[in-house]
């Protein structure tokens, strides 16, 4: 077994375990910390796929900015275990069963798809994930969506300030 395969299985197990811990943690702060672990594992997957730009952006935007925002909001509200609302166990059981059924449908659909039988995602070769190639395409073909996203950010900022301010 070569090193990339070991890393693949390790990162997959880490991502799935941390995602489960996000669900079962009673304390919202612990959920945020486990979600940061999930994002680090997914960034590791991006590095294995040689998508270095997306790996760094994922770390900066998700694990850096968004999760800090979540932490600030949770600490602002002073949530803890006692105030954590609980659904009754029947609804929990129904949710888990529904999720497992969805996973079963997806897995069986993937296993019966013949077109992708011999396809592999190339790891550690190909330089399409480097910032040079992505930047060239981004600023030639996708320059209009890029500029529109700046307007989206501006409207999101104004919206957040308007919603969040005390009237």
């Amino acid at each position: 077994m070569i090193a990339t395969e070991i890393l693949f299985w390790f990162l997959s197990a880490l991502a799935l375990f941390s995602a489960l811990m996000v669900l079962v943690s009673k304390n919202p702060v612990h959920s945020v910390l486990w979600l940061i672990v999930v994002f680090f594992a997914i960034s590791g997957h991006y590095i294995l796929l040689n998508a270095q730009f997306l790996a760094i952006v994922n770390l900066i935007v998700y694990a850096g900015a968004i999760m800090v925002l979540f932490l600030f909001v949770i600490m602002l509200m002073n949530l803890n275990n006692e105030t954590e609302p609980q659904r009754n166990s029947m609804i929990k059981l129904a949710g888990v069963v529904a999720g497992c059924l969805l996973l079963t449908v997806m897995v069986s659909a993937v296993r019966s798809a013949g077109e992708i039988n011999n396809s592999t995602a190339t790891m550690s070769e190909g330089n399409i994930g480097l910032i040079e190639n992505l930047g060239k395409v981004l600023f030639t073909e996708y320059v209009v969506p890029f500029e529109i996203s700046s307007v989206l950010f501006l409207s999101a900022m104004v919206g957040a300030v308007v919603i969040g301010k005390k009237e």
Binding site: E5, F8, S12, A15, L16, A19, L20, V22, L23, P28, S31, V32, L35, I42, H45, L49, N50, A51, L54, V57, N58, Y62, I66, L69, F70, V73, L76, L79, P85, R87, K92, G95, V96, A98, G99, L102, M106, V107, V110, R111, I116, S119, T120, A121, T122, M123, G126, I128, G129, L134, V137, L138, Y142, S149, L152, F153, S155, A156, I163, G164
Partner: protein
């Protein structure tokens, strides 16, 4: 790695997110599970872009070509939209907490009556 492994991993992460949305009542946890679902889809898009790159280079035997960059740029735009969504969504949750002093999503069914 075979593409099926990536698809099944992303599907498992997505289903964990779905289960989280269904069984938790804290609005912040529900929101974090939505982020988890977005990330699983991002992972699948990157894996498919590398698969597309390998298939394209197998068919033309010349110099390597740069197909598959589109999917990675879509992932970039998904991250942009997710960042904007989180800022507005957390502002809504803070406003809800200020009004009802709870982040329980069941408090929001008061519009029903």
């Amino acid at each position: 790695m075979p593409i099926q492994y990536y698809i099944i991993l992303a599907a498992a992460l997505f289903c964990i997110g779905v289960v989280g949305v269904l069984i938790r009542r804290n609005a912040i946890i529900v929101f974090m599970c939505i982020e988890l679902m977005l990330n699983s889809v991002n992972l699948m898009l990157v894996a498919f872009s590398k698969m597309h790159y390998a298939l394209g280079n197998a068919t033309n035997k010349g110099e390597p070509i740069n197909i598959g960059t589109d999917a990675q740029l879509f992932v970039f735009f998904i991250m942009v939209v997710a960042a904007a969504e989180v800022s507005v969504g957390l502002a809504i949750i803070v406003m809800m907490y200020r009004n009802v002093h709870s982040t329980d999503v069941n408090f929001l069914n008061r519009l029903k009556n």
